[in-house]
Amino acid sequence: MAHYPIPVGEPLPPSSQMEPDLLLYGPDVDRPEMRNSTINQSPNDEEVPLSERFRSLVLVGNPNVGKSVVFHQLTGQYTQVSNFPGTTLDVPWGTMEDSALTTPWRVEDTPGVYGLAGDTDEERVAEAALWKAIQVINVVSAVTLARDLFLTQQLIDWGKPLIVLLNQMDELENSGQKIDVETLSERLGVPVIPVVATQGGVKERVIHSLEKASAGNTTPGSPTGEGLRAVEKSNPAQRLHLYGLRRHYVNVVLSQVLSTHSLTSSRSLSAWLGAQLLSPVGGFLALILILLTLYQVVGVWVAGDLVDFLENKILLATVIPAIQAYAEIFFPKDSFVYTLLVGEFGLLTMTPQYVLGVMLPLVVGFYLYLSLLEDSGVLPRVAVLMDGFLRRVGLNGRAIIPMILGLGCVTMASIATRLLTTQRERTIASVLLAITIPCSAQLAVIVGLMAKVGGFGIWLLFLLVLFLVFTVIGSVLQYVLPGQSAPLVLDLPPLRLPNLSNIFKKTWLRSKAFLLDTLPVFIVGSFLVSMLQLTGLFQLLQTMLSPLVASGLRLPSELGQVFIMGMVRRDFGVAGLYSLSDGMSPLQILVSLVVITLFVPCIASASVIWKERGPLESSFTLLASWMLAFLVGAGLSWMLALWPVL
């Protein structure tokens, strides 16, 4: 067995570049006093009640080390657990209660970070939670200790009482490493608890160790507490000096506690598959396979078979006629209230038909599939594969995460653009999301309609048009916006067999969130559309859109209502399109799908984009999407009329 080949090197030269007033706390500073002072200086003290502050426990760790599993073990609450970095964007909290505890503890789960300098939103969120905490649990992966210990040492230098949870101990032996846990605890000066969080037993061990949490041994020569925080936020040269000191110290510790069997890659099936996914041929084939399975699962089985059964055999055949018959007892047919409640766009007819009959099964199918991709560790590899292409449109591989989330919900994905490092990348990603990425409900109907008209030709044309629009918009923004995109730095988790219970829980949580988010909008939407219909405005708008729809796009003029409904919510419009698609030709279906995809984002997405990107950018995005949708649709329609490939 060889020792881990960790370069120690010389400590960096004395802090000639460091300002003396930043060196407030050296390693000899009295720890309790320093802790008190830092707690009192927390920027968010006023927001948190005293009783909670004194029992606040924060989980901090690198991405993908199992924080969310530990959180679930401690609080019994479930947050989204994934096998890719960036799952936790906010700070969910729960309560840890036990007969062994005199008072309950508030436990917070922070986003995975590599450091706490506040360079990214994730770091800022974690940092804010950390300053409020009385005690910190640093979740560390035993497999990637050499990397994770850098953050551990940073937390120790910050001066909060700390417990280290050494997770994923079951994977340690397979990774060809061995850790001397006792010496590690001794060298760090904090309790180190080896655990396998997925197998349970974490809570008892944490409760047992709460009293033993300590501030630990700080990096020699490094400032600590508030002084450290100031240096971390100071100029890069000072930070670099500090990071050098810390990495040197961490490597000295590692050299005493970590040994390894081999340096090179493991020969497991998972490692082999991981390598294949990153090869140009294997990666390309994997992407094709992912798209084909998505088409089969969501498009054919769910959109075709399940939706047909739910919508036509259950809702339209029995439920909705029953509701209408019941309503007729109380309200005369064609009366105002009857139309509002159970008419063509009625609250009690169209809402259940679209939400329960069309959207919900499609969204459940999509989220189930997405969860499988996430938990298997395939998603970060897709990010690596796509980096070369995304760089050409001013992004990097990490942008694939909001893009794929956008295939679930553009609103959620617009928030997830915060994951990207620069404002420039966030702007480009937001615009591309709003215009070119169909949400899960839309995608599912698109896949369903494609399956209905059949043929890969129409699919390929649709994807080609979206790809061209995506590339052109991205390239223009890349050229026009000043600056450069940040290069990719991404940790690749091992490929794992997904945990089915986690997959179902996550799908359930996401689908529930979709339902809670969608139902009120659909109800309001139905009400608005019914009111428009009753007042005659719907007809007026439809008439106004008629020349554009009929002459420009060469579509049936009644499709104008789809675009009007699409302004309320994209899936609202696309569900309407699904219902009207029976008499349409494949060409018309293709054109209408392109237009409704590029069309303005729904109200919820538009409001999030407004909030995230400001009035100027969001107005530009909305205007651009409206114009592009009709221009591209008209262009496609005329081109296909001249060159009839369908």
């Binding site: 080949p5 960790i6 030269p13 497999v143 050499a146 990397r147 991981g274 594969l385 070369g388 940040a486």
Partner: protein, 102 residues
């Protein structure tokens, strides 16, 4: 406990390893898949800061696991860890290829 630094040479300053013949030092972006390399030097403060968080510093060794086409990233294996680094970062990292181990 002694460490097995890649060249067994004395400890080095922070961001450059001991002098090496120029012809044996390559830009990481130019290296081939399957090569084990040892970091010689890292340029620019920004890249150095990012590299330090992942434990990449002069005298670190890693295997080049994959190199994506069209200017895509390099995937590096450091012990059990796999990290993807964009080409723009790799352009600032200079390495010495190591002899193959049997």
């Amino acid at each position: 406990m002694m460490l097995s630094n890649c060249d067994e040479s004395p400890p080095s300053p922070a961001f450059s390893a001991p002098e090496a013949p120029k012809e044996s030092v390559f830009c990481l972006s130019d290296c081939l898949v399957g090569q084990t390399v040892c970091v010689n030097r890292i340029e620019t403060t920004e890249v150095q800061l990012q590299a330090l968080q992942f434990g990449i510093l002069p005298a670190s060794q890693f295997l080049i696991q994959a190199k994506l086409p069209a200017g895509g990233p390099l995937v590096l294996r450091m012990g059990p860890m796999e990290v993807a680094l964009g080409r723009a970062l790799c352009d600032h990292i200079f390495v010495q290829p190591q002899p193959e181990r049997r």
